[in-house]
Symmetry: C2
Subunit: 448 residues, 2 copies
């Protein structure tokens, strides 16, 4: 019964809500996976979502809540009382609980946590909330299965049964010392073949791949991708096992990072979605548009210095868009590639000089080809020889400049720990435009 | 023993190779995880990689080979004989084997497969190779664990032990009918609690999430992300279980898609990496740069029509860069957001009219703010009133136009099954530039 939220189905659901058709909702909607029900809640309005929510049992409701879109989740949180939230959060995994409570004001968080019956659970969640959201500590959950290195297989299985009741997805058993230091891993598969008497010592895999709590979420994604892990243990500086990150959370991080990079390239400063209100979208876009406008004003000032010449030789104006556009295109092609190379860590061993030389060579080839083509075009259409040379030389110079800047700027940003993806945004294209215009008119001045 | 390939370590490795220090390589390099050894092979040159490769035992070598960067893998494949490749491929999982052989010429593929001792394995791999690379069929592996729905827990465990020997990562047992139709799933965890006598029928979870072989790899990623799956079963049209896709392959797909989208936005036509040669990079960038140049020529023609006016009022030229740049920036902000919304499937329920209206509203607000600001700037600096109005009105019009086009074009491309990410590339910015210039000069013509 593959779930698909078509327009028709959505209309049926809304209609069922209108006429209070509880049976329809219970049988046609709530029988699906939590992620699907969350999709329905994301698509209906606030009141309709509340209606459906009231019909769920507590456990199912908590599973659906963690799948909700952020905006819808915040609406629900605003409508719940603190004690209602306490009940729901007690049913969630600790990492989901921490995410759920993350954006609430501290007073509400404290109230909710202090009212939990399970004190161990509430201090686990509080601990997770203390980590930066964008680190391994902020991604991890406290639910994991561990076995003491001195146990036998039989003792481990008995313990496993107890521990695994709380955990949905069991992939690996973490082997720890008596001081909770992570020593290795054991796959569940091992238990299919092992004798109850065998000591764990003889079976586990040492030198486990783990991440420290302070590592960035991007770094966690890189590690899990590199070693094809579905879960990675999280340790502190002393190697003590503190939590576990599962791949689904990392997949979310990867998706959000990709979207953010794309948005940075278009000069959008805060994370927005296509479903946000016009005001939010406007507010996120305006800052960089203003930067672009300042660039345009600078461009106007540059051209203004050559007003006299333009009056005499207005043909110079014809190719302003070409020069500006090509500078922008070339610059962003270079910077986007460097940014990706930095993200993939594939540029580690090339010296800065090597990287710039390669971009320079590419720029020379592209610049030469394009300059010759535009020269040919101008010549064919009988343009003044001065215009032919001005445009071609300027184009060549601008492409070289844009290629070099497109390489240097992300590398410099990266060196000073600033997100190099900023180099793919309008700031750099604007800079390229202005410098390009300067070059163009200086060269024009020389020829005319 | 966390692995890190620093410049120093790499130099030590290269030096060890030079002096034939086998012990160093065996103890300091080959003791690491396959993904780490692959990282070393990616970083050294061809001969050095061969040297290290010769020192590995067969099984480890096959694990390293599947982790290699594509270019390095192709170099190795070129250096191996067909029978060497047959030996390696026999040790790999079927999906890795299919990927490994994918780009070889058919004659080599046939020879390698026909020389395999295990006929079942070679026909499995051949079957996988028959699917389009970018579909579920192309991603899946034939290794999975299944249980007949009529078995008991005890019978399943006995079978599991046999099947699991071949499989590294066991997450879920797939429950099938006697005709191999997928009926449901069983997590390994269940076996911790179940009695050997209990029938599987009573324990398994029905209505499994599965994908058809024809589904695109992007769709698979969406499904696995949505339901937080680490593995998804693949079925044919009749619901028969054919294979399994694990999350690590999907993570690779996601990463490559994100990189490709970013490159499309900068007008790069084939997938390139920062480590590619200058010729490959040039070849991938040139087509779109030519498009940009054609746009620049069109721009020159447009401005050319107004040569007379420019001679009289060269101030009109000052703001050409501003108009062009703003049109480009606004257009790409709109299109990038729509493209992301389409990829996330979050725009499903907004009508086309709703989407355009929202972008239109954002464009009006941004356009109004920026037009007023530039009017203020021009007025303050004593520009001719005609210039003030021309620039402001043109800017407003261009922003509206760019906003609408930035919304319409990706939606139209999507409707005709063309990748909407093309709309974020230089083609659209070029179009916006030219139309913007036309608007600007028409308005100028009216005022002057």
């Amino acid at each position: 019964m593959k779930f698909e939220l078509t327009k028709d189905f959505l209309e049926e659901i809304i209609e069922a809500i209108e006429v209070d058709n509880v049976q329809f909702i219970t049988e046609k909607v709530l029988k699906h996976y939590p992620a699907d029900v969350a999709e329905v809640l994301d698509a209906v309005n606030k009141n309709q979502a509340q209606y459906i929510y009231q019909l769920m049992d507590e456990e199912f409701a908590s599973e659906v809540l963690v799948e909700l879109d952020e905006d819808v989740r915040d609406e629900f949180l605003a409508s719940f009382s603190n004690s209602e939230i306490t009940t729901q959060v007690e049913l969630m995994d600790t990492d989901d609980a921490a995410d759920f409570l993350q954006d609430l004001p501290d007073s509400r968080k404290d109230d909710i946590l202090s009212n939990m019956e399970d004190v161990e659970l509430s201090s686990d969640i509080a601990n997770l909330l203390s980590y930066d959201e964008e680190t391994a500590g902020g991604l991890m959950a406290k639910e994991f299965i561990c076995a003491n290195v001195d146990w036998t297989v039989g003792e481990t299985l008995a313990n496993l049964r107890k521990q695994a009741q709380e955990i949905d997805h069991v992939y690996t058993v973490y082997v720890i010392s008596e001081h909770n230091k992570l020593l290795g891993t054991l796959s569940l598969k091992t238990f299919l073949y092992a004798d109850n008497e065998t000591p764990i010592k003889d079976l586990y895999r040492p030198n486990p791949i783990a991440v420290k709590t302070s590592v960035s979420d991007r770094e966690v994604a890189v590690v899990m991708d590199k070693y094809d892990l579905v879960a990675v243990p999280v340790v502190n500086e002393a190697g003590v096992l503190l939590g576990r990150i599962t791949i689904d959370d990392v997949v979310d991080v990867m998706r959000e990072d990709a979207e953010r990079d794309m948005q940075l390239a278009t000069g959008v400063t805060e994370k927005i979605e296509a479903t946000d209100s016009p005001w939010i979208i406007t507010r996120a876009r305006l800052p960089w548009l203003l930067v672009g406008m300042v660039g345009g004003i600078l461009g106007a000032l540059v051209i203004g210095k050559f007003e006299g010449q333009l009056a005499l030789f207005p043909q110079l104006a014809f190719f302003i868009p070409l020069i500006a556009a090509m500078g922008g295109n070339v610059g962003v092609q270079s910077s986007a590639l460097i940014v990706q190379g930095l993200a993939n860590n594939s540029l580690k061993f090339d010296s800065t000089f090597a990287k710039i030389s390669k971009e320079f060579l590419v720029a020379i080839i592209n610049g030469a080809i394009l300059s010759i083509l535009i020269f040919g075009y101008n010549y064919l259409f009988g343009a003044d020889y001065r215009l032919c040379f001005t445009v071609s030389l300027a184009l060549f110079a601008v492409i070289l400049l844009a290629g070099i800047m497109g390489t240097l700027v992300p590398l410099m940003l990266h060196k000073y720990k600033i997100d190099p993806a900023l180099a793919t945004g309008p700031f750099i294209t604007t800079l390229n435009d202005v410098l390009g215009l300067l070059l163009y008119f200086w060269i024009g001045y020389a020829f005319y």
